[in-house]
């Protein structure tokens, strides 16, 4: 299709407009797709690691052996962790992004839109992950914990070598779901002009007035991403739940 001047746009069909957008803004969409995926991957990954640690703090419980100071310290830490979780789950990420970006600038943090976006989505996901991990941990039978402690493992060793591996495996569906949510929700970071997929559509549409077409394109991209990743997730779950069969040579039958 030959390029037509923008003044003729009114006469173009939707199909033509989509083709036009791809020709002129294809690279922008591609870059947006990359940034969206980067946000989702980093946000979910960092969020999981920090969420794991946060859930440890949230679960701190004073034992009779602790001194008074240690007991108070544990209670305060657990309370603060709870505040963090409530705060970040109870406010929209869009609002968090604006406050954190401008607040950070005010105290002199030299971040770019993208680095701030990565920071916001990570610490936001941390709050959700902490709760996911916590419910995963709570689902582990207390006998697992007692067995590990009875063998002389410390509380920390027990958590990292016995409880977390099982809790995380049980939580894989919810963790994966969080990743898919992040693919979509990273779009709100356009408020601090992170150049992710939604931002790409915003730029392309306001330059060409092809609103429906631009947003249709990214809707299709988002949908493709979420469908592909939820399928991958289903495969992983199936694989993990498959009964494990060991074949020892002497057990093989003809």
């Amino acid at each position: 299709m030959p390029d037509r001047p923008l003044s003729n746009m009114v006469l173009m069909s939707s199909i033509e407009k989509i083709v036009y957008l791809f020709q002129h803004y294809g690279l922008l969409f591609l870059q947006g797709l990359g940034v969206t995926l980067l946000l989702a991957v980093v946000g979910t990954g960092v969020g999981l690691i920090l969420g794991l640690l946060l859930s440890l703090v949230r679960n701190l419980k004073a034992t009779p052996k602790d001194g008074k100071l240690k007991r108070i310290g544990k209670k305060v830490a657990s309370f603060l962790a709870m505040c963090y979780i409530e705060l970040f789950r109870g406010t929209p990420m869009m609002v968090q992004a604006l406050i954190i970006y401008f607040g950070g600038k005010m105290i002199g943090i030299p971040w770019t839109y993208l680095s701030c976006g990565l920071f916001v989505i990570s610490i936001n996901t941390t709050a959700y992950m902490a709760e996911i991990v916590r419910s995963g941990v709570n689902s582990i039978d207390v006998g697992q914990l007692e067995a590990a402690r009875s063998l002389g493992m410390t509380q920390t060793q027990t958590m990292f070598h016995v409880v977390f591996p099982q809790a995380l495996k049980n939580s894989i569906p919810t963790i994966g779901n969080e990743f898919i949510i992040n693919i979509k929700d990273s779009s709100v970071l356009n408020v601090i002009t992170v150049s992710e997929l939604f931002m790409a559509a915003k730029i392309a549409s306001s330059a060409t007035y092809m609103f429906i077409e631009a947003y249709l394109i990214i809707a299709l991209i988002y949908l493709t991403l979420t469908i592909v990743f939820s399928q991958i997730l289903k495969r992983v779950e199936k694989h993990l739940n498959a009964p494990f069969v060991v074949k020892l040579s002497h057990e093989r039958t003809a």
Binding site: D141, A147, S150, L151, Q166, P243
Partner: protein
Amino acid sequence: MEQVIKIENLSKFFGEVCVLRDINLTVNKGEVVCIIGSSGGGKSTLLRCINLLETPTSGVIYIDGSNIMDKNVNVDQLRTKTGMVFQQFNLFNHLNVLDNCTLAQLKVLKTEKKLATAVAAANLTKVGMADKLGYKINQLSGGQKQRVAIARALCMNPDVLLFDEPTSALDPEMVDEVLNVIKKLAEEGMTMVIVTHEMSFAKNVATKIVFIDNGVAEFTGSPSEVFGDHGNARLKEFIK
């Protein structure tokens, strides 16, 4: 005779409820002490106090001569000396049979991997599970699980093994394979404290039997004393 465990005036309250009252018990090296009594009587709580899975309310417990109620005692180190076998096996579900037996060796005793594997294999052979090293836990029967659990505890080279109703969660036909392993350990001179409802097993294997009723050690004696002629009506009622 060398005392492995010495319990003096042990009491345990859960809130207002008294679960154990004034328990005194000595376990010598090589002894097999069976704790019997009706359910809810405090048998398991007594056992769990010995490795501090439960914190006693009052009283003193000595393991190998050192007071474990002392605030400065390293509980984790103590627990490597007191292996425990649970009613529900509590094997680590995410690890295979071999790794169940090596994990604590590697992380707690800091044993070299090669040696830990050798120790695990030796103990698994002892309980007759040497051909199942690579198996996942959910591929095992109850009796096999409990035998792996015993091997796992043995791998820490404990001074005493604590059994909390080791056969109560098993199908009847699997009880014997576990009891036979315990018998074998007794013959090898392993010091053991066993909470059990298997009366004939207690009669045959125990060197000492403690009858606990409503949190009180009602009667302590050799199997012949416990199953013989004595004046304790409550015990007679229980073993009838």
